[in-house]
């Protein structure tokens, strides 16, 4: 098995899905007649936004859940008839690690070795091998709960590999992991495929899809695509362009471009605009003197995905059009962070973070989970009291100043924290009331939101029953009901489908054009590209501050002529670690 040639093992389907459907209650099917195969000796990406059905499909493969229709055959066994044989032969790493946080690394390994019935004689060697493989050897006595996100995933992987499985199912191993650990993890998994093991790697990040050998693309329970990622990006070959030289006007320009005939999709990429055109068309030329240059660009998985979904939404934001403009006032920054520091005991979550955000700018706090970006964000919007330093929003310290100051900001928390048991209209009414809207103005604003976000007809639905995209819209609507001049967005579009993400950023871009100032946290490299400037937060400190293009330029070199945001991130983190070590 160890030296099976690629072609031979790829030909053996480890998993065969035949018109698999699964439905939960009255909701639309979670999976709708999925056909597909997963082969040994390669990494198969199960790709799709949150709620697409990835986890359900993986659970069907483990035999923990049975399909309503169709059959799932894993390693020659039917999940209906022989789930025990399947479970003995596969390794499964669920989304939330499945680790015992109050046990140490070694105790977790011991426990899983007992559960998987690993003979005592083999344990010493297996543990040593896995600890070396995952670089966890120095941490065997540390509690699993105290590990970083990346280390947790590695430990989870080690537990799944205790009895070398023939098939490894990984449910979103890249979530909550910094890009460096993510690359480590990926390399480990690649080594496994060399031994003929079949790996299923599920992800909502479309850039991860590009690295897979084979991709199953799910959207709303349907299989949109099955094949190699190159085949997928092939459909937009020669249709992707990069428009540079639109200095300072890129948002407004993008919004006009998106409404032009022939433009399938467009996003902001640093100072440039990335466009996907209909076949055979070139980007429209401009009448202005600024003379933007269009250059062909390497197609990405996401371009193809959006193209497959029929293109992105238009560039008009009705929300922004009705927004009253905020004009610059004496050049004073709207958001100021001065030496913000937060210590919890002897742990410094945020260390001396300083930046200014002028009016009408999108500023990003970029960093992996647990790096301190949420702590910084919370100190600025008044949820946490800084240990040292101060933060000001529109000239107010939000911890001390009155309700009127907070009336000027809109806040959208991670994972759309709406009131799930309240209906759409009740949520809107509540946020309108809390932000002091009443009478005619309240009615007008709610009617406007209903029209812009198309809530008519779902006014009475409970927010928790909404599909993810609509939840996202409702969260945005609630955050901007009172026309805030500052928007705080915490991981606003991670995991949502690309169309919803574009729609969201179209609104944000439009609002920014009207002078709204936006602070966004993200661990999502693509999202960072929408920002004017970003602060790269790592281990509590800001290790770089500048525009996305500047960051990329700082790390560009001979071996990396055109670095991605992720390349820039990794190089900057490694640079800062080297400096610290020196």
């Amino acid at each position: 098995m160890t030296s099976a040639p690629d072609n031979a093992s790829a030909a053996v389907p480890f998993v065969r899905l035949s018109s698999v459907s699964k439905r939960f209650g009255e909701a639309p099917p979670a999976l709708d007649s999925i056909d597909g195969v997963i082969a040994g000796g390669r990494i198969t990406g199960l790709v799709g936004p949150d709620g697409a059905g990835k986890t359900t499909l993986i659970r069907l493969m483990t035999g923990l859940m049975l399909p309503d229709q169709g059959t799932v055959e894993v390693l020659g066994y039917d999940t209906r008839r022989d789930p025990a044989s399947i479970q003995a032969a596969i390794g499964y790493m669920p989304q939330r690690f499945g680790l015992y946080e109050d046990l140490s690394v070694q105790e977790n390994l011991d426990l899983y070795a007992d559960l998987r019935g690993l003979p005592l004689a083999e344990r010493g060697r297996t543990f040593a091998e896995l600890l070396e493989f995952t670089d966890l050897a120095p941490f065997t006595t540390r509690l699993a709960g105290k590990l970083s996100g990346g280390m947790k995933q590695k430990l989870g992987l080690a537990c799944a590999l205790l009895r070398k499985p023939r098939l490894l199912l990984l449910d979103e191993p890249g979530v909550g992991v910094d890009p460096i650990s993510r690359r480590d993890l990926w390399k480990m998994v690649e080594n496994l495929t060399a031994e003929g093991i079949g790996v299923l790697w599920s992800t909502a990040y479309l850039d991860e899809a590009e690295a897979c050998d084979h991709v199953l693309l799910l959207n709303q329970g349907r299989l949109l695509f099955s094949g190699s990622p190159h085949e997928m990006t092939g459909r937009v070959e020669n249709r992707v362009f990069r428009l540079s030289g639109t200095v300072g006007r890129r948002r407004e320009r993008l919004s006009r471009l998106l409404d032009q005939e022939g433009v399938v999709d467009g996003v902001i990429q640093g100072e440039a605009i990335r466009l996907v055109m209909k076949p055979g068309l070139t980007p429209p030329s401009f009448d202005e003197a600024s003379s933007p240059r269009a250059a062909a660009a390497q197609p990405r998985f996401e371009d193809a995905f959006v193209d497959m979904l029929g293109g992105g939404p238009g560039g008009r934001s009705q929300l922004a059009e009705t927004q009253r403009p905020f004009t610059a006032d004496g050049g004073r920054p709207v958001i100021e962070a001065r030496g913000l520091t937060k210590r919890f005991g002897d742990f410094t979550a945020a260390d001396n973070i300083t930046f200014d955000i002028p009016r009408g700018e999108i500023f990003g706090l970029l960093g992996p989970n647990g790096a301190g970006k949420s702590t910084t964000f919370k100190m600025l919007c008044g949820l946490l009291k800084p240990t040292a330093g101060e933060g000001r929003v529109a000239g107010f310290d939000l911890r001390r100043d009155a309700a009127e100051a907070r009336n000027r900001l809109g806040y959208m928390a991670q994972k759309f924290s709406l009131y799930g048991d309240l209906s759409v209209l009740q949520n809107l009414n509540f946020f309108a009331g809390v932000y002091g809207l009443s009478g005619l103005r309240k009615r007008e604003r709610i009617d406007l939101m209903t029209e812009i976000f198309d809530f008519r007809g779902i006014h009475d639905m409970s927010a928790k029953d909404l599909p993810l995209g609509l939840k996202q819209r409702l969260a945005l609507a609630c955050a901007v009901l009172h026309e805030p001049e500052v928007l705080f967005l915490d991981e606003p579009t991670s995991g949502v489908d690309p169309i919803t993400r574009r729609e969201f950023w179209t609104h944000i871009n439009g609002l920014v054009e009207k002078g709204v100032t936006v602070l966004v946290t993200t661990h999502f490299m693509d999202e960072a590209e929408y920002c004017d400037r970003i602060s790269l937060i790592y281990r509590g400190r800001s290790i770089a501050l500048g525009s996305p293009d500047e960051m990329k330029a700082r790390v560009a070199g001979k071996d990396l002529p055109d670095p991605t945001m992720e390349d820039a991130f990794i190089a900057l983190v490694q640079g800062s670690e080297a400096k610290e070590a020196a």
């Binding site: 008044g382 949820l383 928390a413 924290s417 048991d421 309240l422 809390v434 409970s462």
Partner: protein, 370 residues
């Protein structure tokens, strides 16, 4: 302005409880169960007692005694034993609660005007019931002894006791229990609804959303305080209606006084709930915390056992228990027309408790934001 914000919050709180199927279950299930269990099952009366008699006397008086016991509604059955060992076995296996042994010279001694003796054996494992049964049996024996020749002779000079039960002439158990339940249901619902409300928001992540909104801490607190009080008042009303129309408990006092003091009582209870809520991070912790408070609070309130019976070092603990005060008011309003002065006397400690719990909850909320 602030009123608009507060109104929005109150409406939201009520909707959040009423639209959540779990929330609705909490509002309907426990109150019905509590009403049924406490008013029918958790009775302190002793009925359906099984008794064993070892009668070694063949005379008239022992027959008379057994018949009188048999005629009492308290006793379900009387088994006759032949040997003392049978009594031992029957009590040991809890087949009977009590046994009487009548000596061989019982009737003869009575006729002779000599003191006659009966031995009563009780199961000390069931101390409360035994005590009550011992009282019943003593009363029957006493009545019998008054009819004996010696008893008749002594009757003229003996003291006669005539018992009258005020407020509850027939000592109907439910007259005592159902008013108690009015107070305890408000405690249960008030605590749970409040404890869950903040913890739920923490779990959902909506609490941060509230804090960054223009609502101030005290507004959030008031917004969290009023809806559970409204729900508590609703349950109090339902229980009062049930007490009067289902259980026939007389309502002799002023409802105005009852509702007036109920507002302070609920404020104290909800304050406690908010305090628990501020301490807990998840809904599970909140529920656990609520019950951790509630069980001792019920026992230390005079709900089932009089506070005067508790040891003197424990009695001061009951002073911080809001249930203790409100129980006096509820029972007072129902069974005797409790005067305003007495209500005020019981209400000011409630006020004090509410002030303390609410301000410590507010302090804890602010501190949690650090």
């Amino acid at each position: 302005m602030w009123w608009g914000r507060l109104k929005a919050l109150i409406v939201k709180e009520l909707l959040a409880v009423l639209r959540d199927p779990k929330g609705r279950t909490i509002l309907i299930g426990p109150p019905i169960i509590q009403l049924l269990v406490f008013s029918y099952a958790a009775t302190l009366e002793v009925k359906n007692v099984d008794l064993m008699v070892l009668n070694r006397d063949n005379g008239h008086w022992s027959q008379e005694l057994v018949q009188q016991i048999g005629g009492s509604p308290t006793f379900r059955s009387i088994r006759l034993a032949d040997r003392p060992a049978e009594i031992r076995a029957a009590i040991d296996n809890q087949r009977v609660l009590a046994a009487l042994e009548i000596g061989p010279t019982f009737s003869r001694d009575i006729e002779a005007g000599k003191p006659a003796e009966v031995q009563m054996i009780l199961d000390g494992r069931r101390s409360n019931a035994s005590q009550i049964v011992s009282g019943y049996l003593s009363r029957i024996v006493g009545a019998l002894s008054a009819e004996t020749p010696a008893g008749k002779r002594a009757a003229s000079e003996a003291i006669r006791v005539e018992a009258r039960n005020w407020f509850n002439p027939n000592l109907t158990f439910q007259w005592f229990m159902v008013p108690n339940l009015v107070a305890s249901i408000a405690l249960l619902i008030g605590l749970i609804v409040t404890a869950l409300s903040v913890a739920r928001e923490r779990e959902l992540g909506t609490f941060d959303q509230l804090i960054v909104s223009p609502l101030r801490t005290h507004e959030i607190l008031i917004g969290k305080l009023i809806p559970p009080m409204m729900i508590g008042l609703f349950h109090i009303t339902i229980y009062i209606l049930a007490a009067v129309f289902v259980f026939g408990v007389p309502l002799r006092g002023s409802l105005l006084l009852l509702y007036g003091s109920a507002i302070f009582y609920l404020a104290a209870v909800v304050g406690l709930g908010l305090f628990i809520s501020a301490l807990s991070m998840t809904q599970q912790q909140a529920i656990l915390g609520a019950f951790l408070f509630m069980v001792p609070a019920m026992l230390l309130s005079g709900f089932a056992t009089p506070i005067e019976n508790m040891p003197s070092w424990l009695q001061p603990v009951t002073l911080i228990n809001p249930l203790r005060y409100f129980l006096v008011i509820v029972k007072g309003v129902f069974l005797k027309d409790i005067p305003l002065a007495e209500v005020v006397h019981q209400t000011w400690p409630l006020c004090l408790i509410a002030v303390v719990t609410l301000s410590s909850a507010a302090w804890l909320f602010r501190r949690r934001l650090e």
